[in-house]
């Protein structure tokens, strides 16, 4: 077949880099993948889809009670109002924190995560320590993140065992009265939408 394969170049690659390059070269050569599609997929998750999407959802829920009600009733339809949805988040449920209960999302069996609103998951979310501990000792997980819940607040853990994806809607912090939606979105951290963090006025960027 084609003889242009550049083994000299491969010598500069680590073993896994070489394996990935070999796979990509092969799939392109065989016509299974379009290189332009690969670049577009990377660009999407590197620059277009990430936790700022989710932060906009949360900020809107904080400022628009009717949107919050729609988000509670049908998360998929409500986030679609903001233009979000699709691969890795075809079915979305919003879990609202209350003074009585704090929510935490995880995937013990793989790495399910609400891509359209939070982007790709962080490494720790996909790794054994979190996946093992989130369902057994969620308060211990929160302690690993330096988070202590108020006395008496219960914890609800959502294990993403189906194609339903969850996003935590944290409570709006005190001291944000009169803030614009955009200002509010600025304090909504990724971790606060996973449940391993809490938004605070101090987290304002």
């Amino acid at each position: 077949m084609s003889g242009h394969h550049d083994h000299d170049h491969d010598n500069h690659l680590s073993p896994i880099e070489a394996r990935v390059k070999a796979l990509e070269t092969l799939l392109v050569e065989k016509g299974y993948v379009d290189p332009a599609a690969l670049d577009a997929i990377v660009d999407t998750y590197e620059t277009k889809i990430g936790p700022r999407n989710g932060a906009r959802v949360v900020a809107k829920a904080w400022t628009d009670p009717e949107f919050a009600a729609r988000l509670k009733a049908d998360g998929t339809a409500a986030v679609a109002e903001l233009g979000y949805g699709g691969r890795g988040g075809e079915h979305i449920v919003a879990a609202f924190n209350t003074a009585e209960e704090h929510n935490l999302i995880c995937c013990t069996l793989c790495s399910c995560y609400p891509w359209p609103v939070l982007g790709l998951p962080p490494v720790w979310y996909k790794s054994p320590p979190y996946r093992a501990k989130a369902v057994l000792d969620p308060r211990g997980v929160l302690a690993d993140f330096g988070v202590t819940l108020p006395e008496g607040q219960t914890i609800r853990v959502w294990d993403s065992t189906a194609e339903t994806r969850f996003i935590v809607i944290p409570m709006r912090p005190a001291g944000t009265e009169g803030w614009s939606e955009e200002q509010l979105a600025g304090i909504v951290t990724r971790d606060s939408m996973i449940g391993t963090g809490l938004p605070s006025v101090e987290s304002r960027r």
Binding site: E17, L23, L26, V42, V123, L136, A162
Partner: protein, 219 residues
């Protein structure tokens, strides 16, 4: 299967260690593995659960020590070989040695945005009424299948409450193994901490799973 992937409740991994200012990718090869997974999956020859099963079929020692993108790469290679798209020799050499197989679809660059936005919805029209309703007490079945399942070990044989009925969703246990697609009612089932973990567990904790109807019986 009771593979390395079924991690809920295991111990000894140490604390969760978040990485400050974590980048989306830790190297260009991770970007390519993500994109190759999405693009190859879009050919339409395997289900999401088939490739999940390829990942969880790694020997547990590998599963627990590989980075997640390395798990994805290993499983993607195995799946491409199993479906006859590539051979092991081709993967080793990074060049075609056999004629290509014709895929059902090839994802084109100009279609990526629309395909990702549309996604691949898993809800199907119900063929029968739901067996359970919100508020019902249910017990998960005990099983240890060698095949793919989305009922984790820690939640087998446990009693909980149906909190939500999500419609009929594609059933993963058979769909992972090439069987024609079927769908079942899907429920959010909530358990107390002590029900799952025993009397020393934190009673102020509740844990839910998403459970297909055949995972459940009345309690």
């Amino acid at each position: 299967m009771n593979g390395g992937q079924d991690l809920g409740g295991q111990m000894g991994f140490g604390p969760v260690i978040p990485e400050p200012s974590e980048p989306v990718f830790h190297g260009d090869w991770e970007k390519r593995v993500l994109a190759l997974n999405v693009a190859a999956g879009a050919m339409g020859h395997w289900t999401i659960d088939e490739i999940r099963h390829a990942r969880e079929s790694l020997p547990p020692a590998d599963y627990l020590s590989f980075s997640y993108y390395r798990i994805w790469l290993t499983a993607l290679n195995a799946t491409l070989v199993r479906h006859g798209f590539v051979t092991e020799a081709e993967l080793a050499q990074g060049q075609a040695l056999t004629p290509p197989k014709t895929p059902k679809r090839v994802l084109k660059g100009e279609d990526v945005a629309a395909v990702l936005r549309r996604g691949f919805p898993y809800q199907r029209e119900a063929q029968a009424p739901a067996r359970f309703a919100v508020g019902d007490r249910v017990r998960t079945i005990v099983m240890h299948p060698a095949h793919h399942t989305r009922l984790p070990r820690y939640a087998r044989g446990k009693t909980g409450i149906v909190e939500r009925v999500s419609g009929c969703h594609v059933f993963p246990d058979t769909g992972a193994h090439g069987a024609p697609e079927t769908a079942q009612w899907l429920y959010t089932v909530v358990f107390t901490g002590p029900e799952l973990w025993g009397r020393d567990a934190d009673p102020a904790t509740r844990i839910s799973i998403e459970a297909w109807e055949s995972y459940l019986e009345p309690a």
